[in-house]
Symmetry: C3
Subunit: 437 residues, 3 copies
C-alpha cells in the first residue's frame, strides 16, 4: 500500500492539474462563444427557424443528455457494494475532464476564424464524447486507478474523435444515436483495455465484486434516468422537425418493447424464474443503444419495437451465457457487462442501419458506407483500446493490487463505522486476503 499512497499523493493531483492547465491554455487560444453566424454541422437542413433564432433552443435536450452522463452512467455503476464513491465520483471526474477535451478535439477539424465557437450543439457533442469513456470505465470498473482512468480518458476521446471524423465526416455514415461511434466503440475499446489488463488473480471472483440490497437500488436511479432520457440522446442533434420527432418516437417505443423482452428473458434463464437485477439494470436499456443508428429513419414504430425486443433478448442472454465464456476463454473481465449493454446492441444497431439503408428508410444513406463505419468503429476501438491498455499497464500509474480491487477505501476516506461493519461482515475473507498478502 505505501507504494500506491505515494503515487496517489503526487501523481494523481499533478496529472489532474497539469491536464486542466493545458486545457485552459488551449481554450484561451482557440475557444470562444457562438455568435450565431456559424453554418452549423447540419447546414444542409437548417431551414427551421427555431435553431437560428433562439441559440438555447436545444438546451433542454442538452440537460437530458447531461443527466444521462452524470447521473445515469454514474449511478448505474454504484451497484457494487463498496465502490459507490468511485463509481459516481470518478464518473464525474472523467466526464468533467472529458467534455473539455472532447469539445477541443471534435471541433479542431473545422475552426471558424481560427476559433471553436461554442454552441449548445457543441456542448451536446462534447457530452457525447465522454459517454465512450464512461462505457469503457464500466468494463474496467474496480480494477483501475484514477490516474490510469484519466489517461484512458485522454486517449479514448482522442481515438473517438478520429473515428468519428472517419465514420461520419469522411464516410458520410448516418449514426444519429451513435450505436456505432459511441456504444460499439466505447464497449470494444473498454474490452480491449480490460483484456490487456487481464487479472488471473480475479478469475475466481472477488468478495467485493457484487452488490448489496441498497447498492442495487442506487444503481436503479441510473438505469431509470438512462431509460427515460434515451430519446433525448438519440434525437438531440437530429435535424429539427420531423427527423427529431422520429428519433424521439422510435427510441421511446424501442425502449418500452425492450423492457418487456428483458424482463421476460431474465425470468426465463434464471433458476426458479426469478428476475436478476443485473439484467434489469442493463438489458432494459439495450433498446436505446440498438435503435440509435436508425433512430431518425422512418422505420416505423413497430420497426423500432422489433429492434428493441431483439436487443433486450440478446443483451440478457449475453449477461447469462456469453460473459462467463468471455472471461474464462478470452480473459476479458467485463465488470459491468458493457459488451452486453453497449457492444452487441451497438453492433445490432449498426446492422439495423445497414438494413434500413438497403430499404431506403433515409435519403442519402448507403449500406456500404454504413458497414464501413461499423467496421471503422470496431477497428479503431480494438486497436486504440489495446494500445491504451498497454500504456495503462505501466507500473508507474499505480494500478491497484487484486486484493484492493472493487474497494473505495484505497482512493477515498471511507466513514469509519462502515469499514468496521464491512470488516465484520466479511471477516473470514479479509483474514484470508491478509494471509495471502
Amino acid at each position: 500500500m505505501p507504494a500506491y499512497s505515494t503515487n496517489m499523493r503526487l501523481k494523481f493531483p499533478i496529472l489532474a492539474l497539469v491536464l486542466e492547465l493545458i486545457t485552459i491554455i488551449l481554450y484561451a487560444l482557440f475557444v470562444s462563444y457562438d455568435d450565431g453566424k456559424s453554418s452549423g454541422h447540419h447546414g444542409k437542413d437548417n431551414s427551421s427557424a427555431e435553431h437560428s433564432e433562439n441559440p438555447v433552443a436545444l438546451y433542454p435536450m442538452f440537460q437530458d443528455v447531461h443527466v444521462m452522463i452524470f447521473i445515469g452512467f454514474g449511478f448505474l455503476m454504484t451497484f457494487l457494494k463498496r465502490y459507490g464513491f468511485s463509481s459516481v465520483g470518478v464518473n464525474l471526474l472523467l466526464a468533467a475532464f472529458g467534455l473539455q477535451w472532447g469539445l477541443l478535439l471534435q471541433n479542431v477539424w473545422h475552426l471558424e476564424d481560427g476559433k471553436i465557437k461554442v454552441s449548445i450543439e457543441k456542448m451536446i457533442n462534447a457530452d457525447f464524447s465522454t459517454a465512450t469513456v464512461l462505457i469503457s470505465f464500466g468494463a474496467v470498473l474496480g480494477k483501475t486507478s484514477p490516474v490510469q482512468l484519466l489517461i484512458m480518458t485522454l486517449l479514448e476521446i482522442t481515438t473517438f474523435c478520429m473515428n468519428e471524423h472517419v465514420a461520419v465526416t469522411m464516410l458520410g455514415a448516418s449514426d444519429i444515436g451513435a450505436s456505432m461511434t459511441i456504444h460499439a466503440f466505447g464497449a470494444y475499446f473498454g474490452l480491449a483495455v480490460a483484456r490487456v489488463l487481464y487479472r488471473p488473480g480475479l478469475q475466481n471472483g472477488h468478495e467485493n465484486n457484487g452488490s448489496v440490497y441498497h447498492s442495487d437500488l442506487f444503481a436503479m436511479i441510473g438505469t431509470v434516468y438512462l431509460w427515460m432520457f434515451w430519446p433525448s440522446f438519440n434525437s438531440a442533434i437530429a435535424d429539427p422537425g420531423t427527423p427529431q420527432l422520429t428519433a424521439i418516437i422510435n427510441t421511446y417505443f424501442s425502449l418500452a418493447a425492450c423492457a418487456l423482452a428483458a424482463y421476460a428473458t431474465s425470468s426465463l434463464v434464471e433458476k426458479k424464474g426469478k428476475l436478476d437485477m443485473v439484467h434489469i439494470q442493463n438489458a432494459t436499456l439495450a433498446g436505446g443503444v440498438a435503435v440509435g443508428t436508425c433512430a431518425d429513419m422512418s422505420i416505423g414504430p413497430f420497426g423500432a419495437m422489433t429492434i428493441g425486443v431483439t436487443a433486450g433478448i440478446i443483451s440478457t442472454l449475453g449477461f447469462k451465457f456469453l460473459s462467463p465464456i468471455l472471461e474464462s476463454s478470452l480473459g476479458i473481465q467485463d465488470t459491468c457487462g458493457v459488451h452486453n449493454l453497449h457492444g452487441m446492441p451497438g453492433i445490432l444497431g449498426g446492422l439495423a442501419g445497414i438494413l434500413a439503408a438497403l430499404l431506403g428508410k433515409k435519403e442519402e444513406v448507403y449500406p456500404g458506407m454504413q458497414a464501413a463505419a461499423l467496421a471503422s468503429s470496431i477497428g479503431f476501438a480494438l486497436v486504440g483500446g489495446a494500445i491504451t491498455g498497454l500504456i495503462m499497464r505501466l507500473q508507474i500509474w499505480g494500478q491497484p493490487s487484486d486484493q484492493n480491487c472493487f474497494d473505495d477505501s484505497i482512493y477515498w476516506e471511507v466513514p469509519e463505522e462502515d469499514e468496521e461493519a464491512a470488516e465484520n461482515l466479511t471477516h473470514a475473507d479479509h483474514s484470508k486476503n491478509k494471509a495471502e498478502a
Copy 2:
C-alpha cells in the same frame, strides 16, 4: 414456493412476450408518425403558432411527466424495507407495457387515414394512462405477482380509456390535471382490487410491511420528483398560452401550500408532535392531485392554495384515522394509502371543479357534466376494479402466500449477504412464520 416458481418460470415470461408480440403486430397495422397534418385533440384552441411549427415543443413537458411516472411513482414505493426491487422494477415493467397499450386504446377512437399518428402529445397521454395503473399498484403493493399485475395493467388501461372517452369526449367535462379520470379512478380501481384480494392473514400486519431508514430516503426521491414536476403533469396538455401558464401557477402554489398543511397536520396528530414519514412522503402531494381538475381555470393563486391546504389536511387525517378503519371494517388493505393521496384528493378535485364551473371560472364548463364525469370515473373504477380483482384472484396467476408478501426474494435474486442480515435482524419473526407455514 415450488408452485410459485413453476408459475414464474413459465407464465410470466410467456405472458410478457405474448403481450409484447401482440402489441407489435397491432402497431405494425395501426401506428405511424405524426406528419404535422393532424387536427389535434384541442383543435378549437390551436391558434398558437408554437405547437404546429415545432413538433417537439411539448417534449420538455413530456420528459417531466416521464420522470414522474418512472422515478416518481417508482421510488415513492421503495419505502418498504424489502420490496424496493419490485417497487421500482415492476413499476418500470408495468409502465413500459402500459404506455404501449394506452397509446393504442386512447387513439383507436379517432384514427386518421386508418392510422394512429404518434405525436409528443399522444406520448404524454400514453404516459398518463399508465399513472392509473401505478396508483392501483400502490394499493396492492407487496401482495400481488408480476403476472397478476400485467393482467391488471391490461384491464385497467382498457377501463380507463372507456371512462376517459365517456367523461371527456362524451360528457365534455374539463379535467386537465385528471383529478377525476386518473387519480380518483386509479385509487378506487385499486381499492376495489384490494378488497377482492383481501387477506385475513395480514390483518395483524406483516414484519416486512414497513420501512427502514434508508428505504424512507429512497422513497423521498420519488416524493420530491412528483412534487416538483406536478405542475407539468397538470399543464402538459393544456391549451398553449394562458391556460397552460395558469395550470402551472395554480399547481405550483397548491403544492407549496399543501406542504405546509401536511407538515402541520402530521405533527398535530402524532404522539409527541413528531412528523411521520408516511405523511410527508404522500400528503405533501395531495395538493397536486386536488388542483388537477381546475388547474387551468382562473381560480386565482389563493384559490389554488386553499385547495392545497384542504387536500394536505384531509390526506394526512386519512392516513392517521381513516386507513385503519377501512382495513378493519371494510377489509380494504391499502399498502401505500392511495385512498389518502389519490382517492379523497381526487374527489376533492372533482368537487372543486364543479364549484369552479358554478362560479364560471372557465368557459364552456358545466357543473352537471363535471359531476357526471366524477360519478362516471368512480363508477367505472369500482366496477372495473372489482371485475379485475376477481380475474386476478384466479389461482393460476401465482399470487404470493401471506408469508411471502412484501418480500422481493420470491421474484428477484437478492444479494446473499443481505438475506442473511435481514434474517438475523428479524429472526424471531421468521421463526414464527416458518412455524405457521
Copy 3:
C-alpha cells in the same frame, strides 16, 4: 425531552398553519396571473420575440432551478448518518414556505394595477429567494428545530429582498448568477446565526455529526444535480439570446474545470492522497458559485475556467484548513461548510465581477457599484443574521439539546429496527451521553 415534545406538539403546527393562512390572505389581496401585458424586470432588452409570445418559454429553466432547490440542496445535506429525514424533509418545508413568502416580498416593490402578476420568471426568482435560506440551513444543520427554521426563513427572505432591492435595483449592480446576493449573502447570514447559536458542548464533536457509506451516496445525488443544473441557475433570468447562452457556457466550463481542481486539491491535502467525500460533494460546485456574477459577461470560456479552478482550490483548502480554525477560534460551527462552498466562492464571484467590470466585459456595469453591492450583501447578511440568531435563541422555540443534535428521532418517527441498530452501533457513545445528561 418532554419540554421539547410539548413545544413540537403545539408550536410547530400552529406556526406553520398561521404562516400559511396569512400568506393565503395576502395572496387573495395582492396576487394574480400574468396577463402578458407586464413590462418585465428586464424591460430594456426584451426585444426577443420568444418571451413575449410564449409565456412558458422559461419553464424548462424554472424546472432545472426547482430541481436544484428541492433535490439538490435537499439531498446534498443527507450526508449526515441520522439526519436524512430532516435534511430532505425540512428542506422541502422551508423552500415550500419560502417561495410563497419570497414571491410576495420580491414583487411588493413594483405592483402592477395593485397586483403582483405571477409569471414563470417570478417563480424562478421566488425559488432563488429560498436558496439563501437553504444555504443558511446548511450552516446550522442538525442544531435547530423546525420552529426556529421557519422563523429564520421568514426573516432571512425578508432581509434578502431588502438587500436585493438595494444591490440590484438601487445600486444597479450586475449579479446574474447571484454570487453576491444569494451565495455570499446566504452563507454569511447562516454563519452569523451559527455564531449566535454557538454550542460549546459540541466543540469536541458529536457522534452523529458524520456520514455513513450510503448517506454519502445519497448526498452525491444532491451534488450531481446541483453540478449539472447550475448553468440553468446562472442563466435562467439572463436576457434572452446571447447573454443567456453566454451564462450557460461560462457556467458549464467553470464547473468542469472546478471539478478537476477540487479532486486534485482534495488528494493533495489528505493523508495518503485519498479523496475526501466532503470535498467532492461541495468543492466541485464552487465554480458554479464563483462564476455567477460574471456568468453573462464575455469573459471567455478560459476566463470562466480560471474562475472555476480558483474556486475549486479555495473551497477545498477552506474545508481542510479554515473551517477548523473558524470553529475553534471564532466559535462558528458550520455543519455543511457553507463558508467554503458559498461564502468564499461568493466573494470570489463578487471580486471577479468587479474585475470584469473594470475590463469592460459587460455594458453599463461599473466596478464601484459592483463593490458596493458586494459590501451591501455581506453587511445585510451579517447584521440580519445576527439579529435573526438572537431571535432564534429564545427559549420558547424549542432548540434541541446538544445531545439531541444531528438526530432525526426527536422530530420524526424513525423506523424502530434502525433505532435499535443505531443504538447498538454506537452503544458506548450513547451511554456516555446519557451519563452526561
